[in-house]
Symmetry: C2
Subunit: 345 residues, 2 copies
DNA sequence: CCACATTTCTAAAACGTTTTCGATAATTTT
DNA sequence: AAAATTATCGAAAACGTTTTAGAAATGTGG
């Protein structure tokens, strides 16, 4: 490594012929420094390529201009799901525009699993959580959002009344997806759900049930499978389910990845999609439009979700007003080919 | 925000009845502290829920246990390309296993565009660059890798002899892709290249030329287009190129995204792929296998690349030995349908 | 029991900032 | 011109660690 000369605030104070405190004030826009000397100091600083040391500054101000992101769990690091990459991109854009960088928590050598501890240790100003499954204890989760600005994206497990979160309009969107299937003439519809703990997952089942009820169809728990948001798991469950006859003609999946697994399985069993079985997914990830058949699915506005979460977090950091914020992002059904056309008789 | 009591090293020194320095040494595994007192201190620290302040520590040690990642450029934040999300995932896994977190540089409010400056400001221990196009000046790039452990992934623009990088076996893989087209009977093959500055992009053209030469085919610069790795741009160029006859029966693209744009354009022009025109891509992103027609493409081992880069960087950080490291990751041609079958006479 | 080596501990400096408070200089008021 | 006010600056403390240099305690050999 070639050596690099790093100048500190003392060096530029010396060069400018003023005190360290005056330099600091000039740099941070304090009012008690003459505009002429401020300009002079700024010039010297620029000439000498001065960079404030973020550690020293953070030590005093307790701010790092960094927001943290927790992704998924240990085994499945979250980036597996293409859903996440657009989320993080929008977070990056919003936070970046406001002068923040992004820290992704990765270190697995910590001697703690406390979110609060980890956040404090790294000195992030706030944190966004994008969790899947049931990877946190209640104590852990409460501790975090009680001590630090926190926003959950589509992943609150139990609803505290003081948790900030962004979610998709899950119930409504699922309702419409299932209603569409019903209008196409389906009466026995399988629900491939995610899990039973996440609010998002629960709500997608809820919308399914509401649509059935509204149209006088029976809700049958045998028609609800739990694919854990895994393509592989959905494949297995589908293969087992459809290997015996049951009169089911349509499937509503809680994610596109699972929908792919479902369709793969149906094809392997000799069914045609959508002629024999109609399938609707959830997410509208990039692959879905190019899939064969192109997937009918619920479009989640990932960019808007990330954007909203980031803005929400920056607000929380700025104001510290203790107000709890929620946002529900609209979703719409994108009708492609996998849901098929109206059934004859 | 509920208040959280944060204890510092002084508090636990008082509670343990020893000096601050002894606590520090006990915590950091120094040898000059009796094992009995060390144990006692560790217990007190755990009981009091002590967390070291990373700012204060970093101020002295100049380490942050964080590696930085620069992604793409300002406009196109990098996550657009699905190629990147797998890269970052593997980096996260490797770095995380070794006790590092990941900082993604996002802040656009900085008053500098110097990589070195930005890295120093955040105190990262090393940095991985995944750049596209020509978004850095030579001065900027040199300054960075001279002052900080740095690994480039498939994105060195000019070859310094002291730059660490990981790249795909671009020349070789491209050679085989084009040779495959030649063996299928194609003689006029269009090259949709990326740009002319990145080494990766250059090498993919080089492999194309080598294959032509080996089989006695003429290299014609009119058959090399520059799609800048953009699906849209590739679409435009393809549409213009194929609107006049030229006897071209195959296209070799430097990315899958561009290949999609190419195929879209060909379809719009009324060509059939692969019957009329064969197309081969590069990257093997997830969409490619589900695309219609499934894309023949060069599979880049993204996971291996990210993994290798991360390991390389951690080595550089650890050893500081000044040794320059390179890694070339094998790639293989994945033959699907878009390249078609052997041409009849 | 003394001289010396070794083990174990501590005081204090250092890291590079920000911020408080008081000092000085400049300006205004009386 | 003196007094009061205001604008501008600087000294020093503080942030929470690590590390150096040395002091105290303990052990060892004669």
């Amino acid at each position: 490594m070639g050596c690099v000369i790093i100048v500190n605030i003392r060096d530029i104070a010396k060069a400018a012929g003023v005190s360290v405190s005056t330099v600091s004030k000039a740099l941070n826009g304090y009012s008690d420094v003459k505009s002429k000397t401020r300009e002079m100091i700024l010039n010297v600083a620029k000439d000498m390529d001065y960079l404030p040391n973020v550690m020293a500054r953070g030590l005093i101000t307790k701010k790092s201009n960094t927001i943290g992101i927790f992704f998924g769990d240990r085994q499945n690091s979250g980036f597996d799901n293409p859903f996440f990459s657009e989320l993080i991109r929008s977070i990056k854009d919003v936070a970046g525009a406001e002068g923040y960088d992004i820290l992704i928590f990765a270190n697995q050598k910590r001697n703690t699993s406390s979110y609060k501890t980890i956040c404090y240790e790294k000195g992030v100003d706030g944190v966004i959580l994008i969790l899947t499954g049931d990877q946190r204890t209640d104590e852990n989760i409460r501790e975090l959002h009680e001590s630090l600005p926190t926003v959950y994206i589509d992943s609150v497990s139990y609803q505290y009344n003081n948790v900030n979160f962004v979610e998709t309009e899950n119930v409504n969107a699922s309702f419409h997806a299932v209603e569409h299937l019903i209008q196409l003439g389906h009466t026995r519809i399988l629900k491939m759900a995610g899990d039973q703990v996440a609010k998002a997952s629960y709500d997608r089942i809820e919308g399914y049930k509401q649509a059935l009820s509204k149209h006088g169809l029976e809700v049958n728990n045998d028609l609800i499978l739990y694919g854990e948001f895994s393509r592989e798991k959905a494949y297995q469950l589908t293969k087992r389910f459809f290997s015996k006859p049951g009169g089911v003609t349509a499937v509503f999946s809680s994610s596109d990845m699972m929908a792919f697994g479902i369709i793969d399985a149906l094809k392997d069993l000799g069914f045609k999609v959508p002629e024999d079985i109609a399938v609707i997914g959830f997410d509208d990830i990039d692959e879905s439009k190019d899939y064969q058949p192109p997937l009918t699915t619920v479009h989640q506005q990932r960019f808007t979700m990330g954007e909203t979460a980031a803005k929400m977090l920056l607000q929380l950091i700025d104001s510290q007003d203790g107000i709890t914020r929620h946002a529900t992002i609209p979703a719409r059904l994108v009708i492609r080919e996998s849901s098929g056309t109206k059934r004859g008789g």
